[in-house]
């Protein structure tokens, strides 16, 4: 510093130059793009930058880096709104090489060219994956990712309440409605379920159970079925439960929601295979009171439901797609990773070696030592392969949640909400120049 104090003028100019230089450096830093994307595999030293959210991925990445693959993987744990940043990051050329995505979002990424076609690197893996999970990463005959778990649904229920009020575990939705009436009549502070207007996954698993899908492909055009027959069946069910005051309507995941779960206000929660561990950690005070049964079925059907899975994809900016594809192929399919993925990651496997892993069939103390995954394995086998993901899932989801909020306030009905979301989704597809069957 002293050096610059030689004269006021010089020092100011110097400082000015330093300031502008550092500002420029800052800018350069911003526009430098993906600093992480390394060289090509020919040189034998690639770097793969990976963003994901599954617990325990740090250990698996370490494990991979110790293998002699010539690839170094760096990991960033996704939290908060990291998921919404990915698209912008890719478009700005600053995205990671590999990212974990909900498979519902994948078509959007494929159409916008944000993911790379990795068919040539991973097509041999297909035989190790369940057909429906492999279908969720394949479009137009090309493969754009490696599946990372699925979400078969089950029903968590409070054994103590069911016993107290003499209710047998409902196996059909009609029995479920009866149980809802009985339990609420017996104790007005207890509700059969919480209908969270923002939790689209819970809605989708029942839509899929009814053999419906939000999207479909017919010829060279999209079908949109947000208000189709199956969805209407689900809408009527929840309209009855809502109209009779048998459900709470809190937003899921909030302190309010968990307080109500802990206080014993909610008797059942139907959700995917990854949910039981979250229930256990957020409702410790109810340990031992829950068990898991199959999702109630529709009349004359044995279908289960699924709210969707995840996949690892290689993004547009990745310099070495082969190294990236090799990594995600190992991460999701290797015999060495299945146990960690299942027991630490809480993933319900989409792989055959995962489904055969003993880690999947361990007893869970929170659920009275029930082998809970037996329910989900059964559900995975009974999920109809009708669901198709479409190109504007975000728009459909937003439209539906905004409409559902009006439903629980009594401003509209579930059936009307479905029609409104259908119209918004179709309009949006058309504005993108895509073909829609009507």
């Amino acid at each position: 510093m002293k050096f610059y104090l030689a004269g006021p003028t010089r020092s100011r100019i110097t400082m000015g130059v330093i300031a502008s230089a550092s500002a420029l450096a800052l800018l350069a830093g911003c526009s430098a793009g993906p600093a992480s994307t390394g060289g090509d595999s020919a040189s034998g030293a690639s770097t793969v930058d990976f963003w994901g959210w599954v617990p325990g991925l740090e250990d698996l990445v370490d494990q991979y880096n110790k293998l002699d693959t010539g690839t170094t993987v760096t990991f960033h744990r996704m939290t908060g709104d990291d998921g919404t940043k990915v698209k912008a990051a890719v478009d700005a050329g600053a995205g990671p090489d590999v990212v974990q995505l909900s498979t519902h979002d994948l078509p959007d990424y494929v159409i916008a060219g944000r993911v790379q076609d990795i068919t040539e690197f991973v097509s041999d893996d297909e035989s190790n994956y369940t057909p429906s999970s492999w279908a969720s990463v394949s479009f137009d005959g090309q493969v754009y990712g490696v599946p990372q778990g699925i979400g078969p649904a089950g029903m968590m229920y409070r054994t103590d309440m069911f016993e107290k009020y003499g209710i047998t575990v409902p196996t059909t939705w009609d029995e479920y409605l009866d149980a809802a009436r009985t339990i609420h009549a017996a104790d007005p502070n207890v509700y059969i379920a919480n209908m969270s207007p923002s939790e689209v996954g819970q809605w989708m698993q029942e839509v899929q159970q009814a053999e419906s899908s939000w999207y479909g492909v017919d010829g060279d055009a999209w079908d949109v079925g947000i208000n189709d027959e199956g969805s209407q069946l689900v809408a009527k069910r929840w309209q009855t439960l809502l109209d009779e005051g048998l459900v709470t309507t809190d937003t899921m995941w909030t302190p309010e929601y968990w307080a109500n779960v802990n206080a014993g206000k909610i008797a059942t929660i139907s959700y995917a295979a990854w949910f039981p561990s979250l229930l256990a950690s957020n409702a410790e005070s109810t340990s031992g009171l829950w068990k898991i049964a199959a999702l109630p079925v529709n009349e004359g059907s044995t279908n289960a439901g699924d709210s969707g899975g995840a996949a690892d994809v290689v993004l547009k900016g990745a310099a070495d797609p082969e190294a990236a594809a090799e990594f995600i192929s190992w991460l999701n399919g290797s015999d060495d990773t299945q146990e960690t993925m299942i027991s630490v990651g809480g993933i319900f496997p989409s792989t055959k070696n995962g489904l055969a892993s003993p880690a999947l069939t361990s007893a869970v103390p929170f659920y009275g030592d029930q082998v809970v995954n037996e329910v989900f394995i059964d559900a995975a086998e009974n999920t109809p392969a009708t669901w198709v993901d479409g190109p504007n899932y975000g728009t459909a989801q937003t439209a539906l949640t905004d409409e559902f909020a009006k439903v629980i306030n009594g401003q509209t009905t579930f059936l009307e909400a479905l029609d409104a979301a259908q119209a918004a989704t179709v309009d949006d597809l058309k504005s993108r120049g895509l073909s829609v069957n009507e």
């Binding site: 010089r10 000015g16 502008s20 207007p197 937003t251 995941w253 307080a259 905004d402 073909s435």
Partner: protein, 313 residues
């Protein structure tokens, strides 16, 4: 004070100050950042708002491309009734929240300036402290107080027979206004208080000699003297209202009664992220920017006229 400094300071010698490039060197850091992070993004947004990404068929052909769309995005935004409704919502919010906050801030500033308050520093600090809490954190904190099962406030009200639902469709806007008032009254109070401090004390003495009481002094001297500061803070509050985002975006996670396009800024955000349409989002952002500019100009025009009028009088 200034005259004293002047007598002891010697004229400095600026050896290089005559060079023509010197002033430019000084403004380079500011203008470079200003152009890159404010001016350029505006033009990028305007440019982006005139395009739209079109695909064909199922979209998997890899033929999606940005094509010139003219005002298509603007038409879509302006015919979207939810987007237009969001402007009405923030206007309603502003009409209530800004006056309440400004009256509170003005009242507190006058109180702190008077001799009525003991432990001034402590109370000033207490009023100002919420401003130091980032908006997102403030919304999270209040979010807990708004949820019946975890809120001591609502549980207390329930125990005395008052059923309060602060997150209902009709009340959630005012629950947000409450957070804004809590957060920003302090900073406005400080600005008004500082303006009051610069009022020459002789005027109060003269007024007292003329028989004016404290209320009369406040009404006839203090308020007119700080009127420009009052208008400035009001203007920035109104602009802040139009830009409302973090508080409702945080509360959205705990209540479905805040839709994805609750405020104009939230609509811009959800069009870009959830709707994955940066072009439409840019058009909405330009509309919001123009609306803010118009509101600011109108208020400044009104303000200037009033200032001129009072000066004439």
């Amino acid at each position: 004070m200034s005259s004293a400094t002047r007598t002891i300071s010697r004229p400095r010698r600026f050896t290089g100050a005559g060079a023509r490039w010197v002033p430019y060197a000084f403004i380079v850091p500011f203008s470079a950042l200003f152009i890159l992070f404010l001016i350029a993004p505006i033009f990028v947004a305007i440019g982006s708002s005139l395009f739209t990404v079109k695909s064909s068929g199922l979209g998997f052909g890899g033929d999606s491309a940005a094509v010139f769309a003219g005002v298509e995005n603007y038409v879509r935004a302006l015919t979207n009734s939810d987007f237009i409704a969001s402007f009405g919502r923030v206007l309603l919010f502003g009409v209530v929240q800004v006056p309440v906050m400004m009256i509170l801030a003005g009242g507190l500033a006058l109180l702190f300036d008077s001799s009525l308050v003991k432990a001034k520093r402590l109370f000033q600090f207490a009023v100002f402290l919420p401003y130091a809490v980032p908006g997102v954190i403030a919304a999270l904190l209040w979010g807990f107080l708004y949820q019946p099962a975890v809120s001591p406030v609502i549980q207390f009200l329930a125990s005395i027979g008052i059923e309060a639902n602060l997150l209902a469709p009709g009340t959630v806007l005012w629950a947000i206004a409450n957070i804004s008032i809590w957060s920003y009254t302090g900073i406005n109070m400080i600005i008004l208080f500082a303006a009051l401090q610069s009022v020459p004390r002789e005027m109060y003495e003269a007024a007292r000699l003329d028989g004016a009481d404290e209320l009369r002094i406040a009404w006839s001297i203090k308020i007119p003297m700080i009127w420009p500061a009052f208008l400035l803070t009001t203007l920035s509050s109104i602009i802040g209202t139009l830009q409302l985002f973090s508080e409702p975006a945080v509360l959205k996670t705990i209540t479905p009664n805040i839709s994805s396009d609750f405020t104009p800024n939230m609509a811009v955000f959800s069009a870009a992220t959830l709707g994955n349409n940066a072009n439409l989002s840019s058009a909405m952002a330009v509309i919001l920017g123009v609306a803010t500019l118009v509101v600011s100009l109108v208020i400044m025009r009104v303000t200037n006229r009033r200032n001129g009028a009072s000066r004439d009088a």
